[in-house]
Amino acid sequence: MLSIKDLVASVEEKQILKGLNFEVKPGEVHAIMGPNGSGKSTLASVLAGRKEYEVNSGTVTFNGEHLLEMSPEDRARAGIFLAFQYPVEIPGVSNANFLKTAVNEVRKSKGLETLDSKQFLKVMQEKMKLVEMDKAMTQRSVNEGFSGGEKKRNEIFQMAMLEPTLAILDETDSGLDIDALRIVANGVNALRDGKRSFIVITHYQRLLDYIVPDHVHVLYKGRIVKSGTKELALELEEKGYDWIKEEVDSSVNA
């Protein structure tokens, strides 16, 4: 589904990703962990098409298409969804209106009929339950005045509405208390259907207790330096990253 080969990317002239290789198959859940500054959020941003990030070399294909040549909206229409680490507040645009526009633009791109208000409302009410959203939240301006937890729930709600084939969760657990974490994780789990894939970027193993990954990778200095199963996450939680850093740094020096 997603294939990243030798990806080198930089932001403000500083190289962050330094030859990253990564494969995701349909239905898989991959966790990407790593210390601060290792390039986790850069990876998410490059995949979503944030223009401040410059791709220097390498390729990314998504279902056979060259992802890096696509605009952010085309990536979304093709089925990629980024749950933002810092969801943006958009005063004056109601959540419902925003999502209706988004859902219909995605539908149009697929040659599907757009949903009218009534049909849209029905779908929305269904999906709201997934993340325990109340109606008032859909009427409010996008993320405006939302608490940290509400913002992250809203991200998952949008994901549920847009039904992507690949969802990238960029530190969705940051700033969440345990109840909000549970709601968000339940939402994500409800969307796991054996076909939809997830890349879960996180600092902490805690989220992975709820969203159990098939694969865990450690990103360090712009490369994936270690891959394993969910047990790797537990090991990292216990031992920290220093042993991996030492392993990598000594092999580079040798």
């Binding site: 944030r50 979304a76 229409r77 980024l82 507040e89 958009i90 526009t101």
Partner: protein
């Protein structure tokens, strides 16, 4: 048969035009003869302001020297019919009145029955009415405003709206001010008088349009709005002329005790548009809202000058102006608030927010507070920025195309001004018009 203007200095041209016009057509408002003669003299003295004038620093009227503007003949025949203007009515039940090239066009007006207590008519017909004479040309002070003087000297028609005491009319009264041209440069004076007697409550919509062949036009509008005790007036100006139009608009409101006025100036057409709002809170407990919206592109110049004059205690004023400026367009906002010595316990707020959509767009904004009382609460602020790139990316990352995403953000920014309008029907219609303008 034309009062043509020589092409050297615009001021001189218009001065000659005033003399010539008055020679040719005489005085068309006999009851206001001395005021009009006086105004002609004042205009001759003041001339057309240049950018050396502090109040005209960013807005040049040089365009007025580029064309020979003929002042419309007061006895011209109107040509627009009901069907020509039907689409201008903002709502189905709107009481629509048409001013075509400065003249009241009774046959194009839609003729919906007027509610009891409301009188609407041609200013030329009503100028001798004592209720009109009491106010007409008595409020818009032309002694230092040359374009008001020009309008006052040349005015021959327009519209009068009078609401008797205790009249309530929710149906909007709409004045469609149309310049209907055939290729010739025209100078069109338009005069509007609105009188709200004690406890009257109603909505006025003044809309501006261009018909006919695109031609350079000077539309010079002066409105006087007199609001008696406890009366409430919701006034909307929607300016949507073509870009050959130079539109200068002076709007004077005089408020008596316990009165309320809300004015929204929505400007998205015209080549050069200058709005002067002058609101005098002349007695205690007045409430006044002034909101404005500029949506400019190409080489449009849109200038909002406002004066809120707090003369007496316990009054409230609130001002919100927003601008979206694209292309090479220029926006200007200048908001003065005076709080006079007697105006204790004044609450006066002002905010101006702008978004520039291109590198060549510009905005000049100047909030001014002059406070002579000591127990007041006042604030003002101005911001000018670009479209929020983070928000834009967020929308695009959800599959919304870049053009729609920009339109969505601009709409949200601008809708804020229209949302304040205290009439649900008008608000809804104007939000639709805004959508049409932004997604065009």
């Amino acid at each position: 048969m034309s009062t043509s203007i020589l092409n050297n200095s615009s001021a001189e041209c218009f001065m000659q035009a005033v003399d010539h016009f008055r020679e040719l057509y005489g005085n068309h408002l006999p009851a206001q003869k001395s005021l009009q003669t006086n105004a002609a003299a004042v205009f001759t003295q003041l001339g057309i302001p240049t950018t050396k004038h502090e109040e005209w620093k960013y807005t040049s009227l040089a365009v007025l020297a580029k064309n020979n503007y003929r002042t419309v003949n007061p006895s011209h025949n109107c040509s627009l019919s009901k069907s020509d203007v039907a689409s201008l009515a903002l709502t189905k039940d709107t009481l629509l009145y048409v001013i075509e090239n400065g003249k009241f066009n009774a046959s194009a007006s839609n003729g919906h029955a007027l509610p009891t207590g409301i009188t609407i008519g041609s200013l030329a017909d009503m100028a001798g009415d004592p209720r009109v004479q009491n106010h007409l040309m008595k409020h818009a002070d032309f002694s230092e405003e040359s374009l008001v003087a020009l309008n006052t000297a040349l005015s021959f028609d327009g519209v009068v709206i009078i609401a008797d005491a205790k009249t309530e009319c929710a149906t909007p009264i709409q004045i469609a001010v149309i310049n209907n041209t055939a290729g010739e440069a025209l100078n069109i004076p338009v005069r509007i008088l609105v009188v709200a007697e004690k406890n009257a409550v109603f909505n006025v919509v003044e809309t501006h349009h261009s018909f006919g062949v695109k031609s350079p036009v000077l539309v010079n509008v002066v409105s006087e709005v007199v609001i008696a005790e406890q009366a409430r007036v919701n006034y909307i100006k929607l300016q949507d002329e073509d870009q050959n139009t130079c539109h200068v608009n002076y709007h004077k409101v005089n408020m008596a005790r316990d009165s309320y006025q809300h004015i929204s100036t929505l400007t998205w057409g015209g080549g050069l548009v200058r709005n002067n709002l002058n609101i005098r809170l002349d007695d205690v407990n007045c409430t006044s809202y002034l909101n404005g919206l500029t949506i400019a592109k190409d080489f449009q110049v849109i200038d909002h000058h406002t004066v809120v004059d707090h003369a007496m205690p316990n009054c409230y004023s609130n001002e919100l102006y927003k601008g979206i400026i694209d292309g090479h367009a220029q926006g200007v906002f200048n908001g003065k608030i005076f709080v006079r010595k007697d105006a204790q316990k004044t609450n006066a707020f002002q905010s101006n927010k702008n978004v520039l959509l291109s590198d060549d767009a510009s905005m000049n904004t100047k909030p001014q507070l002059e406070i002579f009382a000591d127990d007041v609460k006042c604030s003002h602020g101005a911001t000018t920025g670009q479209i929020d790139e983070e928000a834009l990316f967020y929308l695009r990352a959800r599959g919304i195309g870049e053009a729609s995403a920009r339109a969505l953000l601009n709409h949200a920014f601008a809708a804020d001004v229209i949302e304040q309008i205290p009439d649900e029907n008008l608000k809804a219609v104007l939000l639709d018009r805004l959508t049409a303008r932004l997604y065009a």
